[in-house]
Amino acid sequence: MSNQLERYKYDVVIIGAGGAGLRAAVEAREAGLSVAIVCKSLFGKAHTVMAEGGVAASMGNVNESDNWMVHFRDTMRGGKFLNNYRMAELHAKEAPERVWELEVWGALFDRTKEGKISQRNFGGHEYPRLAHVGDRTGLELIRTMQQRIVALQQKDGRDHGDAEKFIKVFAEVTITEILKENGKVSGAYGYRRENGEEIMFEAPAVILATGGAGKTFKITSNSWEGTGDGHALALKAGGHLIDMEFFQFHPTGMVWPPSVRGLLVTESVRGDGGVLTNSEGKRFMFDYIPDVFKDKYADNEAEADRWYTDQANNRRPPELLPRDEVARAINSEIKAGRGTEHGGVYLDVSKRLPADVIKKKLPSMWHQFYELAGVDITKEAMEVGPTCHYVMGGAWVEPDTAAVIDVPGLFAAGECAGGMHGSNRLGGNSLSDLLVFGRRAGLGAVEYVKSNGANPVTDGSVVAAAAKIEAPFNNPGSENPYALHHELQETAHNLVGIIRTKAELEEAIAKIADLRARAKNIGVSGGRQFNPGFHLTFDLDNMLLIAEAAAKSALIREESRGGHTREDFPKMSPTWRQVNNITTWNGSSIAVEQKHLPDLTKELFGLFDIHELEKYMTSDELSQSRGGSN
């Protein structure tokens, strides 16, 4: 096998061509390294393309009071102070530069009157902060990055006679394994989806930028790519995942018709004036404002409505609470029997904005409902319900370099890295995260490669990796990968979903173990050429890891916070706030360990009102931090 194996040598291999991967590639190439970009789908199709609302950066174009400190505060609040503070700090500080840079590369954001980049309101952000292009910001971001890569390639073509000499995109290739020699990364191994043929990259540094894991759940806004591959690759390479119990359920996914169930309805609908009502016509969000947010959100309709025109003197409408709050509220309404016919609640902009404004501000939403549900959102309300949207948990990394802890040579950025968003991500903070940490991962890899040099792959590793790919074809088993995936999604959705209990989580863990055993008997029909059944077999293995990590972490965390709600422990607990769950894979099962969160520095601590921190922290912590480290 290995004599006909397709082999390449690069300085860095980047797995993932979403915003994070491409930003990393630009950084690495500009520093002079050779880069392979590997992705499962075609170039330019990564999940980032679906992001709608915008990218958060405190440029202060619309409200001059905005700055990185306010953004940092919002991010920490949104994450309920479980965020890695250093990541949140870097993110808030560097996001504006990253957005401006996109503009230099050709992005065309919507403009303010002064000709600057326009910014819109979004849940959890104190000021209008999301740079956007209508409701297709992710598309703009990915196209800009894609075109930036092409620009660099064209330059290489002019300077070196070969456009693909230093950056090459390997589209429709799935990486199944990170190769290691002497305890350090030596490359990556995978197969071409097109023909099933194997491919090997030799490289001292590998960057994971594989995005999310939503396909583990039944109702999700994620595309098929969201199978947690990077998470799993990191685990299998000896790294760890952090805080895998935290999944973000976006409050507004489509609920009807069934075939589009889960499809995202962007938060901008609410940012631009959409209100949520239940089947009794009641605007119920006023009943769900948690204590920690009482001073920031309006408790009556009149004030909430005034906010749209006068944000300085009114508190914001509760529809714009952080996503976890809204998702839980909707969930409760539906459970209490006040849901709509198809099991959602109503979201209505038609009574708030004129039809032409809706079509201009929310063009793809209009399109989506009109074409897929036969609903004209300029005339009628939408039916919406929670959908699994984002995984806050991810590879455990060093904040400054994005290096995966315990795996020299491995880096992770974007949705597949953890820590940045704590227990809950604010809207718009992901796209900026991709850019900030994509770049940092690129830099981290550059530094690493410069000081470590090559680390050749041995034949033994290749043979072992090849054997794993061959396995399902030789398996006489009769399990159907589609059916197993379906069962896993049901399990995750019903037992590890928005609201969790001890008993259900234990049941989930047992079921997942059972599914893992059955997955060993998957027999694949057909050949290697573009065979989706074969592809799913690998993805499924990863999702099983995700589900297990999520269920086990969730079982351990006996509190409710952000994207993790325990019916049996409904309160936030200041002691649990100090704890990260770190998962490790030993080859047959997942172990979870608790680690103490790094403490806020004095400077960052000082950015908060002490009374606010009292809601989250123990009194010990408060007295310590006040005089704490710097």
Binding site: V49, V150, Q154, P258, L372, A483
Partner: protein
């Protein structure tokens, strides 16, 4: 409200293949991609189809349904009669890889040939000032999801393999128009290269690209024809040419 749907799906690769009849259940509100997936899960485990978002946003699932280039994820089952047999084939302008998946590398090659955006050399991040009305035209073209349905339906290459060398296709005509209308782009020879290198003159403005574009980009009216007019300005209009020579001499422009 389940119903049965009769399909004829292309099965095969670049060497061989043909249409295969299948019948499959379809539920209310489903799209063609859903039923293809059901065929995959229940009947033909290795049926190849490309898709990603299932929301009309990524442009992966381009196929031909009853001969019309469309996104499988945005084509409602309900738009077909129950008695009808619906034919699903891969895109017919590009080489097929397997079943409904085609080799669209042509488009990535062409993308590489369009010179990238070239901002003013002294433009610092954060300093760009552009009015909304100045970016709107280019923004329309940036809605493109690269489904390549326009490329696929354009007869210039669909019906004439030999033209692929010299013709970039509508997707890249909108890219050229986007850049030529970009308020800050500094490359001034886009019009010439559109005509001389990218084959703009091959387009006979028959508008099939516009007809199939799922993003409803008015490719022909807003990009191709304006570009053709701009090309005339610099290449075929003697008066304009004279004008530009005089202006250059007098140091205007």
């Amino acid at each position: 409200m389940a119903r049965t749907m009769k399909l004829r799906i292309f099965r095969g690769n670049s060497k061989d293949g043909g249409l295969q009849d299948v019948s499959v259940e379809a539920n209310e509100g489903e799209v063609i991609l859903d039923v293809i997936h059901r065929v995959q899960a229940e009947q033909i485990g290795d049926l190849a189809v490309r898709w990603n978002c299932k929301a009309g946003k990524c442009g992966s699932c381009s196929v031909e349904i009853n001969g019309k280039p469309r996104l499988a994820c945005m084509t409602q089952v309900a738009s077909f009669d129950e008695a009808e047999t619906v034919t699903i084939t891969p895109l017919r302008a590009f080489p097929v890889i397997k079943d409904l998946v085609t080799d669209v590398s042509f488009n990535y090659k062409k993308a590489m040939e369009v010179r990238a955006y070239e901002p003013p050399a002294d433009l610092k991040p954060g300093e760009a000032r552009m009015q909304q009305i100045d970016v709107e035209r280019s923004q329309e073209f940036r809605k493109c999801i690269e489904c390549f349905l326009c490329q696929n339906t354009c007869h210039v290459i669909r019906d004439h393999e030999e033209n692929k060398k010299s013709f970039a296709g509508p997707r890249f005509f909108i890219r050229l128009a986007e850049l030529d209308m970009h308020p800050l782009d500094t490359l001034r020879n886009r019009k010439q290269s559109a005509q001389e290198e990218h084959g703009l003159g091959m387009c006979n403005i028959t508008k099939c690209c516009t007809e199939v574009c799922p993003e409803h980009i008015r490719i022909t009216d807003n990009a191709i024809i304006p570009m053709k007019e701009r090309v005339v300005d610099v290449k075929y209009d003697p008066l304009r040419w004279l004008g530009s020579v005089i202006r250059k001499r007098e140091g205007i422009n």
